[in-house]
């Protein structure tokens, strides 16, 4: 499966990555070659093999429903680039 430049632009938008026009071609080529490796892997006969959601032979450990962390706002706010009234500030977003 080969990717077009338009596919790269769409992926870049979804991933919030800034990709310059000159880079688009390079990415299209390198990602296409990864996908062709996947195409190759698709050739393997996986009939009767259950899809694996996790490679570890283990199941999820559970946590007791207890509040173990108190208010750490001051510590977190101290490492944030912009805050006001206890809120983290980010560039304006509109719904």
């Amino acid at each position: 499966m080969a990717l077009e430049n338009a596919d790269i632009e769409k992926i870049a938008i979804l991933a919030r990555l800034q990709v310059t026009h000159s880079e688009t071609n390079d990415y299209a080529n390198s990602i296409s070659s990864i996908l062709s490796l996947m195409d190759q892997m698709q050739q393997v006969d996986t009939e009767g093999v259950e899809p694996l959601s996790n490679p570890h032979d283990a199941t999820q450990r559970l946590r007791k429903d207890e509040v173990t962390c108190g208010n750490q706002r001051e510590a977190f706010i101290a490492i944030a680039p912009a805050t006001e009234d206890g809120l983290y500030l980010v560039p304006k977003v509109l719904d």
Partner: protein
Amino acid sequence: MSWEIVIGLEIHVQLATRSKLFSGAKVGFGALPNTQTTLVDLGMPGALPVFNEEALRMAVTFGTAINAEVCKHSVFARKNYFYPDSPKGYQTSQMDHPIVGLGYLDIQIEDGSTKRIGVTRAHLEEDAGKSLHEDYDGMTGIDLNRSSTPLLEIVSEPDMRSAKEAVAYMRKMHAIVTTIGISDGNMAQGSMRCDANVSVRPKGQDKLGTRAELKNINSFKFIERAINVEVQRQIDILEDGGKIAQETRLYDSDKNETRPMRSKEEANDYRYFPCPDLLPIEIDDAYIDAIRQSLPELPDQRSARFVSQLELSEYDARVLSASRALADYFEAVVAVCNDAKLSANWVTSELARYMNQHNVEIEAAPVTAEQLGQLIGRIMDGTINGKAAKTVLDELWNQTGEVDAIIEAKGLTQVSDTGAIAAMVDDVITASPKQVQQYIDAEVDKRGKMLGFFMGQVMKASKGSANPGQVNGLLKDKLDELC
């Protein structure tokens, strides 16, 4: 043309855990911004989620309560999108292997019959934080207290055919989740909210019409209104020869209209994949069966018991079992006064009127079940009549005192002294010669109705304290003597 309405609901229920789905931060409404977060909720690199066992137990409890298949193997997946109130860049949710599979619940429809609504699935996921768009120097404020709060998303089949059915389904779901205690069900605080998928098609057509998704409806009243205006909008477009766009819309309750949300670019490409930070959840039959065994009495069972054991009407039984709090309140009233029918009347009519007027739910009613039970007891033992009881209820609602003290202070004790009542009856008859003559002239079978005037006069003379049964009997005797 005649149209058929097709509705499916996605209900988000906030689970009533103490701590978050994946961290030990406190869950709670109304705290100061960002005081209930950990590094996990902030999406800091390297901070790993650990799954809350209580959220699992609650999800499985829900599955058993709606007769659903509970999945012994379920998997968390990442739903990828960028929005500042979700700093990880994805929502941890479930896709291919939800915890709860196919189930159903029964609703009562308008003609009184029962309709079964399918539940496609229910899955666990985390809530996002909140964006505050007030102006912070041209920036947006982010509060992450709600981030990683456990949610159960319950997806219905497109089985509902009117806005009323959708409301009945939502109400039944509310009754179930509050009864099994997995959520406080507080819609005003967002503990339960729903998205409605609405489409219309010509009657008799199999193929579904194009649907619009109405987002974030947070009251029973708005579900009905939002669906009805959306249905009308779609029918108007189709009847003008237009086409429905598949889109997400918001209901504006002030204008009573729906309008398209500004589309987030490529919003529907969520690129789900299994979450590598969380292992599959494996549970066994013993775990599920133990939960099934511990289910409390469900709303349908409770309603049936109110009919069979307490001899309530089907209607009253259904109204009173609509929420766990209401049913508990009602049973507490009955425990005090020992009369189920009177209790049902006072809870569903008199008390309900105050609750509607003041827009409060039973949990916040200032009249306790104990007080209402005592009040009904005072009607039953003849201390006060029904009219005086309403005065007492008004005082109870305004919290001016206890039942007996109010009766005493307001002089509401019913006059059951035959001599005193007879004197008042005589006074009224003497003072109303015109009405007495009309009574005498009237046909015998019309007289019963005419008694109302005299009843009113005597009750007024006694300031509402006379025993109405005695007044009625004496009036009839004395007037008939004159005929």
